[in-house]
Amino acid sequence: MSYFLQLVVSGIVVGSIYALSALGFVLIYKSSRVINLAHGQIIASGCFITYALNVWVGIPIYLAFVLSLIITFFLAMGVERLFLRRLIGEPIISVIMVTIGLMSILDGIIYLTPFGAENFSFPEFLPTTPIMMGDVSISWTQLVGVIITALLIGGFSWFFKKTTIGIAKRAVADDQLAAMSIGVSVPKVFGLAWATAGLTAAAAGGIIGNITGLNFDTLHAVGITVFPVVILGGLDSILGAVVAGIIMGLIQQFAGGYLDGNWGLNSTAEVLPYIILLIILLIKPHGLFGTHEIERV
């Protein structure tokens, strides 16, 4: 039983990190209908910036974390301005490919830094003794990660539901021309969407970096791993990202816990999310919480 509980707890921890990573996708998609494949790279850069500020510059870790959020906020805004602004209104494939190109470019830039080929790890700043709840344990790093995730996700859902600017962002996603007609500045909204996505990516990067250490391969693989989560959640739903993130976290833990090692199966956690994603999509073609296009013939 405690084995099961531990899997559940770990699943939720990993899931909430997925959710936070997925949140960036959702924020961008929700206002600009762009799916950003370079998100993994932004996550990685957020993580590297935190590290550089903390270790090389010597800024205290929490401050470094907040600063990296701000830097990445503007970084992502710049990326949007530079690369995506021109592509407003182009077909999906162009937009997908631009973000793929962006992925390569960011890769290249990161290779220019020491982070490209070397490994680092954050200095410990939280107690290393785990928190025990009965037999179930969770590390401080993970706990802090979950709390930050919860705060950010809560904040953003409130923002989209309740504030006029939040509604305006959704409005832009719906109909750009109409949004412009009532005075919404579409470019600003897109820039803001990327900026906030960059912010969440940096947060996710900081958390993941603390858990796994700073290895570029591992960090930017998160970008791809989060895909099934984003799609499962339905691309434009924050709630969907959270639910799907936790589902995927649990699936991976259970797959690792109960399937691997039996019946000759191995690393099922790598493939199971995709299989489950396919099955769910066939039942619900717009993911669990995705908006159905309202089509009138």
Binding site: Y3, Q6, L7, V9, S10, V13, V14, I17, Y111, G116, A117, E118, N119, F120, S121, F122, P123, E124, T128, P130, S137, I138, S139, Q142, I208, I211, T212, G213, L214, N215, D217, T218, A221, V222, T225, Q252, Q253, F254, G256, G257, D260, G261, N266, S267, A269, E270
Partner: protein, 408 residues
């Protein structure tokens, strides 16, 4: 005036030709060697220091005139860990007329095996996969294969373990590289090695290994043999620390001791795992810069000379690269000393003769390189290291794996 000029030009040209012809027999030769490896893409964290090691040692050989006036030209090409590109690089090297080839990944070594045979070109890979040697005559592993290393580790465990049969799990990379030694270890167990392999885990890109560690711990696993790259090991060690399942000293009861072979260890692991790497056991055939040895001194000097930063200077993959270059230089030196032409066949012969009295003692390894027609694994000697206060320290004396010889 015009005619004068023409005459002058003719004269200069003629004298050049004569001069060149006169010099021809004594002219310094350049021997070409090719290295294709992953400087970018996956495993580049190992590939980069490796390439520097190779590059620096060949430079060193040229600067120190180890081959007299003859020069070595080692072409290094990036293949980003992709077999297709490796093949292209290899073809290019052949077009350039290389006499010796250095390869990197397991996948490409297996994929190009047939080409090595057809071209009859001696090849030194960075992959110590035992399968490289099957149906192949031209691949020379610099040190003992992963299987040999792993069985050596297992023998160490049986020797040091107190109590009943030690329960062991394997934590491996999900690829040919990772899976290579699994079967061999099982064979060794059949041949009488006293361990019980409880589970073989292929890791994914997991952010969390809780499930796996809990499961292993519930099955009573005491030792985890790692054969992968550093990053997943680091994540696992951190999780183990958090779950409080990591042993604080070798073989601690009810806890798990983590051990790994060549590509799992080194400074990168410590960099990634931090405190959690404490007490990690690691085996390889190389000397480390954290220990005071001749090899370490020479390595650090060389790194300084060619302007490498500390990280590369102290990397065991830098050592690894220096090592293959040493073998290559030595083979050429010996061939030349015998007055033979530096061509593939002669180099091949010379490599195969590197045994017994003729064994080669590189500075950066803990034992000699021995090759023969039947044994194409270089250094058979292993040294066990352990992380103590954030550095790898050797524990115990060097050893070789007995069961590995038995199962071959």
């Amino acid at each position: 005036m015009k005619t004068n000029k023409k005459v002058l030009i003719c004269y200069i040209a003629a004298s050049f030709i004569l001069f060149a012809a006169a010099l021809q027999p004594a002219a310094a030769q350049t021997y070409k060697i090719g290295l294709s490896l992953a400087i970018t893409g996956p495993t580049s964290d190992a590939g980069v220091p490796y390439s520097k090691g190779v590059e620096d040692y060949f430079k060193y050989a040229n600067d120190m005139k180890l081959l007299g006036d003859d020069k070595l030209d080692c072409m290094i090409k990036d293949d980003a860990y992709k077999t297709d590109v490796t093949k292209r690089n290899f073809e290019e090297f052949l077009d350039q007329g290389i006499e010796l080839y250095l390869n990197y990944s397991t996948g490409s070594t297996l994929g190009l095996k047939k080409d090595f045979e057809e071209e009859k070109i001696p090849t030194l890979p960075a992959s110590f996969h035992a399968g490289n040697l099957d149906d192949s005559n031209y691949i020379f592993l610099p040190i003992v294969s992963y299987s040999g290393q792993l069985i050596g580790l297992a023998e160490y465990v049986t020797k040091m373990h107190q109590g009943e049969t030690p329960k062991v799990a394997m934590f491996i990379h999900p690829s040919a590289f990772g899976r290579g030694p699994v079967e061999d270890l099982k064979k060794a167990v059949e041949a009488g090695l006293n361990i019980e392999i409880v589970e073989v885990v292929e890791h994914g890109k997991d952010l969390d290994n809780t499930a796996m560690l809990k499961r292993l711990s519930s099955k009573g696993v005491q030792y985890v043999f790692c054969h992968t790259v550093q990053s997943p090991v680091a994540t696992m060690l951190k999780d183990a620390q958090r779950l409080d399942v990591a042993a604080s000293k070798f073989g601690e009861n009810g806890k798990m001791t983590f051990l790994g072979i060549h590509y799992t260890g080194g400074n990168d692991l410590i960099a990634l795992a931090g405190d959690a790497s404490e007490n990690f056991f690691w085996t390889t055939s190389y000397t480390l810069t954290s220990e005071d040895t001749d090899g370490a001194r020479i390595q650090l000097e060389m790194a300084k000379k060619y302007g490498r930063d500390d990280k590369i200077a102290n990397s065991h993959n830098y050592t690894n690269g220096i090592m293959v270059a040493q073998i290559a230089v030595e083979a050429i030196r010996r061939t030349k000393a015998k007055g033979k032409k530096i061509v593939r066949e002669n180099l091949y012969e010379e490599l195969n003769a590197m045994n017994g009295m003729n064994a080669f003692y590189p500075v950066t390894t803990v034992g000699p390189v021995t090759y023969s027609k039947t044994d194409r694994q270089g250094v058979d000697t292993l040294q066990l290291y352990k992380v103590k206060n954030g550095v790898f320290r050797s524990t115990g004396s060097t050893f070789t794996s007995e069961y590995y010889k038995k199962i071959q």
